[in-house]
């Protein structure tokens, strides 16, 4: 795979992983689950 392919893979997986972490971090630290 070329560097371009790896960049798109890493960015896409990174964005969606970061998205999950961001949302659940906000919920866990600020509010918690009730």
């Amino acid at each position: 795979m070329t560097a371009g392919g790896w960049i798109f893979l890493a960015l896409s997986w990174g964005v969606v992983s970061g998205f999950v972490v961001f949302c659940f971090y906000r919920i866990f630290t600020k509010i918690g689950f009730k």
């Binding site: 392919g5 798109f8 896409s12 964005v15 969606v16 961001f22 906000r26 689950f33």
Partner: protein, 513 residues
Amino acid sequence: MKEREQWGSRMGLILAMAGNAIGLGNFLRFPVQAADNGGGAFMIPYFISLIILGIPLMWVEWGIGRYGGSLGHGTAPGMFDALWKSRLAKYVGILGIFLPLVIVIYYTYICSWTLAFSLFSIFGSYPSPDSISTASSASEYLKPYQAYLYDFIGASGGGTWLSPEPIAYVFFLITLLAGLWILGKGVSGGIEVLNKIAIPALFAMGLILFIKVLTLSSPTDPSIGVTAGLSFLWEPDFSGLLDAKVWLAAAGQIFFTLSLGLGAIMTYASYVKKDEDIALDALSTASLNEFAEVVFGSTIALTSAVIFFGMPGATEIASGGAFKLGFISMPAIFTHMSYGQFFGFLWFMLLFFAGLTSVVALSQPVVAFFEDEFGWERKRSVIVLGVIFFVSAHLPIFVSGALDEMDFWAGTFGLVILALLEIIIFFWIFGADRAWEEITRGAHIRIPRIFFYIMKYVTPAFLILILGAWAYQQLPSVLAKGDTGVWVTRGFLAVLLIAHIVAVRIAWKRRRA
């Protein structure tokens, strides 16, 4: 006003909404769309569509749903009637019950295949032809597996009528009854409990399969490894970015994957308390869906297809569509994989959980309509839904072409129309400022103000563009189809739509009386 049910916990709500969004499309449709539309470069229009179409519409549907729920309405007819003071509003809202019902009628049948195939996997019932290395092409090699699927669903003979194996009908009944049983337990006691089990289990199975695929090696060519598999989907082809088809495919995928324009999100959101957060919860739901799609969905099926069949074989499979990838090539791959029976079971069980949680979500609008607008008890509502469901499902089970026809009108065209109506009614008729206040009330996150303008101008314009382009591209060929099965399906859809109009009319007459 009758006391309505509510979600038992915030986690339950998020998982239920995620279960609604995560479906078969995350694992079967997404990789095929991405591979066909520019690979890694597809992710540019995909993420842009997520930001200007997906997330705004999520907020709109959550906002309309919570607002409607606070007034005792769990479905679009009542919600639109509350937002838009017009006699037409409730009839326009019919789409919010009609579309999920039509989709769930055929989706349940497909979901039942995944349950059946999970057991076929564990018992090793698939055909076992010669080594892959002796096959002239992937399609040639996959013929026995294709025949296996076609025999199962009774599509081998051609013609108008399908003759599925009795076991296919049995699995359909099991899936239907499971869905109805869960619905009968209620929002908190049934739907929430299901999703609290199914979604973590789905992610656990996805992770196991993801790791397995990353450690696979080709049975025929040692030079083809996981890197080649990943490159098939992720290698960017930037020329596609200049093609409108790629942008439409990306926008369409965002629509399908987030289950937008179906009415199901609004119904689930109607069980959220009036001042509880929806902004962060909607985002959290979208994040879980995106992770399942972009990480697991991009890797499991297509990467293993490349490793087992090579690039040309995977190209053939991808061009054959999602069913070929999921139900024909994957059984072949598991047959030749170490511990394939176990991993095959996991794969189809993952799809079954993804499907069942969506089946329940798509069924709930009808139940909510009966409960809220007719004042029926849950048990009665579920039984009536079950009868409608059972009778209607015979169409996609026994009539050739019915599934595709229903999928086009409800699962492709209808959902864009409903989404457009939602955003126009909420932001342009109810009022943009009031809509914004409704979405941001009780929010545990600050939504950037730019989304106000995106929701008011950009998202509706994008929807009109998609609708126009799809009508131009697909309507002529769909309307040109005229065989018996297609006309039977169109007649059925027309009767079902009229029944919805009559039901809404009766419900509103009763309310006035």
